[in-house]
Subunit: 414 residues, 2 copies
């Protein structure tokens, strides 16, 4: 695998904290890569609750199905993640790999296999050499510690060019709690779910249904509003664990997760972590040179706005125009039109970088491209479309389409 230069839109790792109730370790199992780590183990305290959202791809990987079944059990004691092989479309062997991995991890941790979450990322359709993975687990178990988050963020990377993590401290009642997560993802990134892998842990004590509501609602406007290449992975997984080590007021399972004031700060902080992680995935979009912020307003509904935004963010012609710093806004109009959502040429207005370009079905009088071109030379390009149809709005993040994407994906497996 070739070494790719770090994304020009990379962010440095933030200073990460300790989340009470979780220990982790990272190691090299040699599953596909040599000379780098590729295996992460997390151990959670007794009583840890979990929530998860997964790919909507109809051909999900074996670990996705495994996690769905762990989630239905409601108790998580461990997480094993490997990079280099996605364990997807591997038939019976894929399931057996999951079972064997969970068994080995469960024995080390002292829990049941069905309390071990699994995630895999990498090439599709190749049998995962499970014995390499299980052979490496004991030494990971022996090195479990509370500070190994940065190493874990690196250990789950595939075509990622920088490690991704985010952290917020907030409070529930008077008690300070922390929310900290890592993510990986760079290509095969499209919504229709929390894209690629992300694992977030908090020391809050929250019942699983509350956690699930908060996560499901949070990904809607974060992980589900990013796109790199419109391709929905078979492995997408976002897991949120709550170790319950914080001693805040007890949150009852009947609490309304989305409206109760006791969770307002927590919810805001969680959404901020989700958004930071999601945006880091786009910032590492394969071949990225520019980040697109797409704001759609005036749609008939939020869903409609989201679909229009994604049509723009996924259009190869819009993406190549952004890459070429070409203010070819006609392509944005085309993308709005191709979305099939309620829109009308004569009520549509469009701006780039805050400069009004078109309204009422034609170009703005006296429109001068110079300012727009100057804006497009920057690393972040703002596109705003108002459909003039209603009150629905959405924000979508995408990246440009460049030679780098072709370089990476014309030879991924080599």
């Amino acid at each position: 695998m070739q070494i790719m230069p770090t994304s020009p839109l990379a962010l440095p790792l933030p200073e990460l904290g300790v989340v009470r109730g979780v220990r982790l370790a990272t190691g090299a199992a040699g599953i596909r890569y040599t000379g780098r780590t590729d295996l992460v183990l997390m151990e959670f305290a007794l009583g840890t609750t979990m929530a998860g959202v997964f790919t909507r791809n109809q051909c999900p990987g074996a670990p996705v199905e495994w996690c769905r079944s762990v989630l239905s059990g409601g108790v998580a004691r461990a997480l094993v993640v490997n990079a280099g092989n996605a364990n997807v479309f591997t038939g019976r062997a894929g399931y057996e790999t999951c079972q064997r991995t969970a068994e080995v991890a469960a024995e080390l941790i002292g829990c049941k296999p069905e309390q071990v979450c699994l995630a895999s990322t990498g090439v599709i359709g190749e049998i995962l050499p499970v014995e390499r993975l299980t052979r490496a687990l004991p030494s990971l178990y022996n090195t479990l510690n509370t500070t190994g988050w940065a190493e874990a963020a690196r250990g789950i990377m595939t075509t990622d060019t920088f490690p991704k993590a985010a952290v917020k401290t907030t409070q529930i009642g008077e008690e300070k709690v922390i929310i900290q997560g890592i993510a990986k993802g760079s290509g095969m990134i499209a919504p229709d779910m929390a894209t690629m892998l992300s694992f977030i842990v908090t020391d809050a004590a929250l019942p699983a249904p509350i956690l699930q509501t908060l996560l499901s609602e949070g990904v809607k406007t974060t992980f589900n509003c990013i796109t790199v290449d419109s391709d929905t992975s078979t492995s997408d997984t976002v897991l949120l664990f709550a170790t319950g080590m914080a001693s805040h007021a007890s949150i009852d399972v009947t609490t309304d997760a989305l409206t109760d004031p006791i969770l307002a700060d927590f919810r805001k902080a969680l959404n901020a972590v989700l958004q930071e992680l999601a945006l880091m995935v786009v910032r590492d979009g394969e071949g990225i040179t520019k980040l697109m912020h797409i704001t759609v307003t005036g749609a008939v509904s939020e869903d409609s706005a989201r679909r229009v935004g994604l049509a723009i963010g996924n259009s190869p012609l819009v993406k190549t125009a952004i890459a070429g710093e070409d203010a070819n806004w006609g392509r944005i109009v085309m993308a709005v039109g191709k979305s099939g959502e309620p829109a009308h040429r004569d009520t549509l207005s469009l701006s780039i970088g805050g400069v009004c370009i078109a309204e009422y079905g034609t170009v703005c009088e006296g429109y001068d491209e110079t300012q727009v071109v100057a804006h497009m030379r920057g690393q972040e390009v703002d596109i705003a479309v108002d459909l003039g149809q209603g009150n629905g709005s959405a924000k979508i993040w995408s990246c440009d389409l460049t030679h780098g994407y072709i370089d990476i994906n014309g030879s991924y497996r080599s």
Copy 2:
């Protein structure tokens, strides 16, 4: 505009014939390009009937709306096509350009403006300098002839690298009739309609409703089954004219166009022309190095098969893998899954170049990639997917995604 090398999958122009009842001419109006032709005029005999299919993009160009209105009138006496400016998102000025062009052409031909079909292709959102167009029309009128088809095919090109035309002779009853057409298209090519521009003329005498049925049915499996980049143009137009100069048995308007034996040969020949033209558009897909033939079988319906085929044909990751001659078939599985259509990993089978790669949810026993890689080195790549769900099938044609596409579209307007 840079000169692009001719597509490696280009085909030579076939030997074109004369279609009784149509005269045509091509000239240089200097609308955008210099040193090349960009304007085509066709004149049709009195009594010519027409059929048309248009883009489903919600922001269609002014000429598309104009043509729809001509079509509703049912009589066509002329066609004016320009390249270099699509006259899309040009507001009131766009409509006035159509009207002025039709008036000038109508006066030359001796018909009504509402009998003049119009089509424009090129950049979106710029006002078309209509006076250049109308100034050029009289000299085109003066050079109308019956043999200028190859020049017309060249005159409507934009980013096309080779001119596209197809011809078939067939019969209705005992009478020999000809069907001849031209097309242009290379980027912003996605189904949801007969992609880009194509104009087909026959000397058959067919009522407009019959012609419309034949065309609508024919594009379903031809122009609507090709994709280059998933972007649906705002200008897509396919028009079919019947000059009525052939003296075959009269075809009544109540004839069943799709089942009556009298039209069986004609229908077959028309579909062959549509398919040849549609495939030429893919063969000139921007940056193409390989043509993909995607066959989907075992879907729950034809529509479902078509959507699965398009998900494969539009996937940037599948397209880049094809470009890189990488037998990374997991990406095809991903694309099937992301289509959202009924499919199940464990009933899915997949082959490339006739080599069985995967079935029953896992890779075929003893699968050896060598043969597949050898097939992928060729210019045409066959992908076959069976979903094992039903009897629906479809054939889709697409092309790979290469550096050439980025080169062309990162600087189209320059």
